[in-house]
């Protein structure tokens, strides 16, 4: 039941983020607890094993790409293919697929919450004085009036883990081959409302059946106690 509760909480979060750009839904795998070997306490003879139920083994974000939404905003960039943008936060370098960019007072390209976006060399990109005439190429090169201002860096990420604010932690690697950027678009949320609703119902029904199991165990114990007392 506890496992299903966690699953329900994750599904609720997926639905809450149905509009979050670059959001990746959670994927949990369940594993059974280690079995206990029961022994006869008097003779020490093995009786059999006892299963202690299931537990969440690991949770990882499902990195399947969300749909691309056209916005027409010059500072919106969608990643087509695998890979992440790198941003400089107060806690160090983080990774995101949310391409709703903005500028800060220094003229640096930032993510939606103001963390500077980095190029492939780990440097910030200054686009001061350019907004409407900004062009971002499929390779991430930012040009304005024929002048190159910088190139948005992309990395691949192993063991990505979500940490909120659309940011991920993980181990960065080389830029993924074949990935392109699209200006004037953002990657929509990876939440598929229909499949999440189905998962919610399935999860709730198994929660319900667990409850029935607990109740019938309770009844069995009660009967055991009553018949034991009658002896």
């Amino acid at each position: 039941m506890l496992t299903e509760q966690v699953r329900q909480d994750q599904l609720a979060n997926d639905l809450a983020n149905a509009s979050t750009p670059g959001y990746k839904p959670d994927q949990s795998t369940q594993a059974s607890f280690g079995d206990l070997l029961l022994q006869n306490s008097a003779s020490g003879q093995d009786i059999g094993s006892l299963d202690l139920g299931v537990d969440i083994a690991r949770t990882s974000p499902n990195l399947a790409e969300g749909a691309i939404d056209q916005t027409g905003e010059p500072l919106d960039v969608a990643i087509q293919g695998p890979g992440f943008f790198t941003v400089q936060t107060n806690d160090g370098t983080r990774y995101t697929r949310d391409g709703q960019f903005a500028v800060n007072a220094k003229g640096e390209l930032t993510d939606s919450i103001g963390d500077p976006v980095l190029d492939a060399q780990g440097k910030t990109i200054s686009i001061a004085g350019h907004t409407t005439d900004l062009k971002i190429g499929p390779d991430g090169a930012i040009t304005a009036g024929g002048k190159t201002l910088g190139t948005i860096g992309l990395v691949s990420l192993t063991n990505p883990a979500k940490q909120g604010d659309n940011l991920f932690t993980g181990t960065p690697g080389k830029a993924p081959a074949g990935t392109t950027l699209e200006q004037g678009a953002i990657e929509g949320s990876g939440t598929n409302p229909a499949s999440v609703m189905v998962d919610l119902i399935t999860s709730m029904r198994s929660y319900e059946s667990m409850q029935k199991v607990v109740n019938s165990m309770d009844e069995t114990l009660q009967q055991g106690i009553q018949s034991g007392g009658a002896l």
């Binding site: 909480d9 979060n13 979050t20 027409g72 800060n104 909120g164």
Partner: protein
């Protein structure tokens, strides 16, 4: 236990603020110089539940300022209306003495002959018509140079900020510069067009689609709450 209820509630609140922004955009579909709001969504912190399985706290909106697309220019024939072609703002002084920026170029002449906005703020630097000059004789050049009856009386200065998203909406089509936006500096490459206004850049079609999306997002999050409620009910039936 039941963090999901709060995650879903946060998701509903985020969709609600998106809805509010769209509502405001639609209300300003005829406001000259109005640019629609740019709202972003983000997920919230993750806390470890059972066995370190992360559960998120929902979603929130981030204000990304305004969209940058220019509204179309509409000919008014009024010599006192100017449209800004390109990025930038007109600079005006508010009643408290502070500087504010606007893209609404429907100007007027106040009692002392100064050029003011619809809500009465004077341009910075101020431009005053000489006594007896007819506002219909006013000529405003593409570079902002103002002449009345052939005589130069000043220049309308266009300014821009580094981060337009950091500007604070002050109502009356005005924005005030903040530390996040950077100080206003003269705008490059932008020109003025006399006798026109920039219409609102709100596209009703897009606004309607966004509204439906927000409404469905709200509905989805509420389904998650309903489900969590049912879960608690089942748990409650454990004790008969």
């Amino acid at each position: 236990m039941s963090e999901g209820v709060y995650a879903a509630a946060a998701g509903m609140a985020a969709q609600q603020s998106q809805m509010d922004a769209i509502g405001n955009d639609i209300a300003n579909v005829s406001t000259p110089g109005y640019h629609s709001e740019r709202i972003g969504f983000e997920d919230l912190v993750y806390t470890a539940e059972q066995n370190g399985a992360p559960a998120g706290a929902g979603a929130a909106t981030v204000d990304l300022g305004r969209t940058s697309a220019e509204g179309s220019l509409e000919q008014t024939g009024d010599p006192l209306s100017v449209a800004i072609d390109g990025p930038g703002y007109l600079q005006v002084r508010q009643a408290d003495g502070s500087i504010a920026l606007t893209r609404d170029g429907q100007l007027a002449v106040d009692a002392s002959g100064a050029l003011v906005t619809q809500s009465g703020q004077r341009l910075v630097p101020p431009i005053t018509l000489p006594k007896g000059a007819d506002p219909s004789d006013l000529k405003i050049g593409a570079d902002g140079a103002v002449t009345a009856g052939g005589k130069s009386i000043g220049k309308i200065t266009l300014v821009d900020v580094t981060n337009a998203g950091g500007l604070l909406s002050a109502g009356d089509n005005l924005f005030t510069p903040t530390a996040a936006s950077g100080a206003p500096a003269p705008a490059k490459d932008s020109t003025l067009e006399q006798g026109s206004i920039e219409t609102s850049n709100v596209d009703l079609g897009t606004a309607m689609v966004d509204m439906i999306t927000a409404q469905r997002g709200y509905q989805l999050a509420s389904e998650a709450i309903k489900d969590q409620d049912q879960l608690l009910q089942i748990a409650n039936q454990l004790v008969k």
